[in-house]
């Protein structure tokens, strides 16, 4: 897989975040502070600006720079979390060639590990981790089943969507929604939603 493929992912993710900005902010209004859409959009627009300015020789360089851009431009909870994901994802791919479905799986695992380490969320805390964790499992299972990258990412995106939906009834224990206590139940987590969008974008573009 070429650098260009990953560039496509980032561009597609950026336009997805842009199109869904007010949807994500709306979700964040209910149980947060009404900025998640603006945050994701700002961050990915900065990634697009990065793509305009620089060209990248390797996927790991591209992904690390994208991660650093997200860290530098998003802020909030999602900035360090998504930023760390891409940083670790890129680092895991350093020197790896060719980039196989297995290699992407390793990078995926490293990225989710970063989110876990930064955010210290557990499954069921009603955070983006509730989408990332099942997505990673589904990806691994698919690859183990002999699926190609496209198939594994599709499985991951579907699992993320299920995880996202499963956040609705939960009472939040991490992030701003946790301040609401019981009142956080009945609302879909914004971060789990943006994670699903990101993985759906990956399934559309990385292949």
């Amino acid at each position: 897989m070429e650098v260009g493929t990953f560039v496509s992912w980032l561009r597609d993710a950026a336009s997805t975040m842009h199109d869904n900005a007010s949807y994500l902010t709306g979700l964040d209004s209910a149980i947060g502070d009404a900025d998640h859409g603006a945050n994701m959009d700002r961050g990915f627009q900065a990634v697009v600006a990065l793509l305009e300015e620089s060209s990248f020789e390797s996927v790991d360089e591209l992904m690390k720079k994208a991660g650093m851009t997200l860290v530098s431009k998003v802020g909030g909870a999602s900035g360090p979390l998504y930023g760390t994901f891409f940083l670790r994802f890129g680092t895991a791919l350093a020197g790896v060639s060719p980039i196989t479905a297995e290699a992407v799986g390793e990078a995926f695992r490293a990225g989710v590990g970063g989110i876990l380490q930064r955010g210290k969320a557990e499954l069921g805390d009603k955070t983006m981790y509730d989408a990332w964790a099942p997505a990673l499992d589904a990806y691994d299972a698919a690859v183990a089943d002999g699926s190609d990258l496209a198939g594994a990412l599709t499985a991951a995106a579907e699992a993320a969507a299920k995880g996202r939906d499963a956040t609705v009834p939960l009472v939040a224990r991490k992030g701003r929604a946790s301040y609401l206590g019981e009142r956080s139940a009945g609302h879909q987590d914004p971060g789990a939603t943006s994670t699903t969008l990101l993985l759906e974008s990956a399934a559309r573009t990385l292949a």
């Binding site: 902010t25 900025d35 603006a38 431009k73 909870a77 992030g175 701003r176 609401l180 009142r183």
Partner: protein, 334 residues
């Protein structure tokens, strides 16, 4: 959305330009990095104090930069934590050889971004960095199993008191210990009569009927713990004071700094009226008010509402509270 703004995306940078223009004698603003610096800093040998957070809480934090308080403040987007780059730049900018204290309000985003900055600053420049995380909001329950309590009103009092201590030339560890002590002795609780509108969102974060209020809100326009029927000021005061007093707990004979804070859209006449209620409740509980602060200091855009903060104050804290301060938001003794 009715606001005195141009483009929603330009609110923070334009407000920072206004701050710089309004306080050229006291502040220097790095517009690129959105950092408000003390004009006369850094003072060699003094511990540098930096804070920061989402914008929309003005005068906090930029308005608390100056002699006797912060050395720098990093401004994020509205209600969005600033990013590590800002905090690293500010850390470098205020480091005068004695180390830097990061004053962080306990929000996942703020904590993670400041953490990343501290890691990077330590690796990068070898600057000694300590952090204190404020978490005084008693509205957050079961905080052991969650992200914990929010940092709210105590942050203002802490920045003043710890700023005075840093000005005295105390060491980084001493300043950090004092910060912890202030945080440990402070509690807050807030309520809202109206929601606020994040400029980029364009509509109110939540809707409240004319006869409703939210109790147990934070400072990010988030809904509170409970939606209750609108009540008279005396009942609202009790809803805020009782959980605060009961939590530390503050006891008969304690002296406190009492802080009635407006959320941004509540005028001073109502805040003084609320302070009258709070003072009576404290009096009845045998708690002495050593010092008080009434006004809009840690706000949530144009939200109407208020919060009550108590800080148990011994003679040293009161002395540091009284020490000279010269910032756009708090000023005395100079």
């Amino acid at each position: 959305m009715k606001k005195l703004i141009n483009e929603p995306g330009d609110v923070v940078s334009e407000a920072l330009r206004g701050m710089a223009a309004a306080h050229p004698d006291r502040l220097r603003v790095d517009h690129e990095n959105r950092i408000v610096y003390r004009k006369d800093g850094p003072r060699p040998g003094k511990v540098g104090l930096i804070s920061g957070g989402g914008s929309g809480h003005e005068p906090m934090h930029g308005g608390f930069v100056g002699l006797g308080m912060l050395d720098a403040a990093c401004a994020g987007e509205v209600f969005t934590s600033p990013v590590p780059d800002q905090m690293m730049a500010a850390t470098r900018g205020v480091d005068a050889g004695a180390g830097v204290l990061h004053i962080v309000k306990n929000y996942t985003g703020d904590v993670m971004n400041f953490e990343m900055a501290a890691e990077l600053a330590a690796a990068d420049a070898g600057t000694e960095v300590l952090s204190v995380v404020t978490n005084d909001d008693v509205a957050v329950q079961d905080s052991l199993y969650t992200a914990g309590r929010r940092g709210v009103g105590v942050t203002v009092l802490l920045e003043k008191i710890v700023g005075a201590a840093a000005e005295e030339g105390r060491s980084l560890q001493e300043v950090a210990d004092l910060a912890t002590r202030v945080n440990d002795n402070g509690r807050s609780m807030g309520m809202a009569l109206t929601s606020c509108t994040v400029p980029a969102a364009g509509k109110p974060t939540f809707e409240l009927a004319d006869n409703e209020m939210e109790v147990g809100i934070g400072i990010h326009g988030e809904p509170g713990r409970q939606r209750l029927p609108l009540a008279p000021a005396s009942e609202i005061a009790a809803m805020l004071v009782d959980p605060v007093v009961g939590d530390l707990p503050y006891q008969q004979g304690d002296a406190v700094i009492a802080f009635v804070n407006g959320m941004g859209g509540t005028p001073l006449i109502e805040l003084y009226l609320m302070y009258n209620e709070v003072a009576q409740l404290l009096d009845r509980a045998g708690i002495t008010v050593a010092r008080s602060l009434v006004g809009n200091y840690i706000t949530s855009l144009e939200m109407a509402g208020c919060s009550v903060t108590l800080l148990k104050a011994d003679d040293e804290l009161v002395r540091l509270w009284d020490a000279p301060v010269n910032t756009p938001g708090l000023r005395w003794g100079v």
